[in-house]
Amino acid sequence: MDTHAILNIAYLIAAVTFMTGMKMLGSPKTARRGNQIAAVGMTIAILATIFLHDKQIDPLIYILIFAAIAVGTFIGWYIAVKVEMTKMPELVSFFNGMGGATAALIGLLEYTHNTDSAYKIAMIVAGLLIGSVSFSGSMIAWAKLNGSMRKPIRLPNYNIFNLIILIAALALAVFIVVQRPESPIYLYALFALALLYGVMFVIPIGGADMPVVISLLNSFTGLAAAFGGFLYDNMAMLTGGVLVGSAGTILTIAMTKAMNRSLTNVIFGAFGDTDLTGGEDGGTKGTVKSVTPSDAGILLNYANNVIIVPGYGLAVAQAQHAIHELEELLEKKGVNVKYAIHPVAGRMPGHMNVLLAEANVDYDKLVDMDDINPQFKNTDVVLVVGANDVVNPAAKKNPASPIYGMPILDVEDAKNIIVLKRSMKPGYAGIDNELFYNPKTSMLFGDAKDSITKIINEIKNM
């Protein structure tokens, strides 16, 4: 009796840590601590499950459980620690698949001795179905991000085809719940169908949309865990699963919004390769990474050295006061901010000086090209505000370019580059700028003043 109460308490604690952890993950300041708190709660829940029960357990089983946990811990830890930072998203997908697989396996194992209860079978079938989809879908997503499977594969009419598989799976699921056949063969069929659906669901989708898909599959796994919770009347699984299910769904929506996609667009399979490419002849020059003001804000806020490169767009947007405000804000947060003034930025000699003086920017913060160029390599973030030609590497690299020979600001040497402009349109010289396709470059599209104001707000909320 006591053990049961303590188990209950342990689960309650776990549930609270999950919520608290999730909440803390929502703010940069507390995110890491939040993750750790949730991990502690998880550990408590797992240990409590293993030890707090009234049954006498065969030592073999204990050994197996510990062995399994040891193996899983070792592999999980190893992969997570070794993998490069850039491969993180695919890793999330992989681990998510593992969770889905676990849920599916539980379903397979629990089926036979629960055929007396429609409720339990319903929970088992639901968990199995969702878990399997999540598993196979995540594996495909993983492979895609991994590079093993680069191109979206689209069968003709794949939307209809997928719908048919889905309907078949659901029909089979209903059949199983209603009839509850003794033989698990139908369940295996369902398992296979679900796996297939997961594959078919993800395969037509392009790499750029993968994060959204992973987030969706993530909330699926949450749901699968929740059904496990119902099955075992286990509050930790239930709360954790529901929490991830609902939070994951909202997160998915938020992600589509941040990517300027609609949710229906996502749900009804209109996923695609929508990486922005410049100019009409697209594609060939590589991809452009478009970011949100929030991303830009984070980059700036956590930098030590920032250089602002103003250009003609600053003048057009009349963003001089806004940029000064941003500069002051960053300085207050301990960031070292300078302005790199290119001699021909703008449309008249001294154009940037006039503007920045109007906004009361300290003269000492304005550094001219020759002095600042060597400093870019020690710079965490360069914020290019409506400048284009003056940061165009073609001036150095491409003898055919009309600006070849003009000295430019070497912003490419910096660790990160954020470019604020309204479109992919060229500047005064009318030529394309390969800087925008640099993997280090993040484009924040929109009027420079608007964008800066948004960044300021984001930083203020950090």
Partner: protein, 102 residues
């Protein structure tokens, strides 16, 4: 219909818990900056690793001589652990970049 009402009456508290939990989930995520989306997804991913509890329960209830079952259960626990451990560690690594300046 009768079954539905029965279900409601028998599980009303569970239903409340689910509804409330959904509410909490939504509320928690609403104001998150976009740059935290990935870490948050990763953190949530680790949390649904709680499904491992199910795998452990399966093992605990298993007959010690059901070797096939034990094998599958073993795999389930391994995979679940992968999800939990890998999930939390990856999230932690992602969040390292948010460490505050000295």
């Amino acid at each position: 219909m009768e079954g539905f009402f029965d279900f409601i009456n028998n599980n009303i508290e569970m239903i409340y818990i689910v509804v409330l939990m959904i509410f909490v989930g939504i509320e928690l995520i609403s104001h998150v900056p976009a740059v935290l989306h990935t870490p948050l997804m990763s953190g949530a991913n680790a949390i649904h690793g709680v499904v491992i509890i199910g795998a452990i329960l399966v093992m605990l209830h298993m007959e010690p001589d059901n070797y096939a079952g034990l094998a599958i259960g073993f795999i389930a626990v391994v995979l679940g652990t992968l999800n939990v451990v890998g999930g939390f560690v990856v999230t932690d690594r992602m969040l390292e970049m948010f460490k505050t300046k000295k």
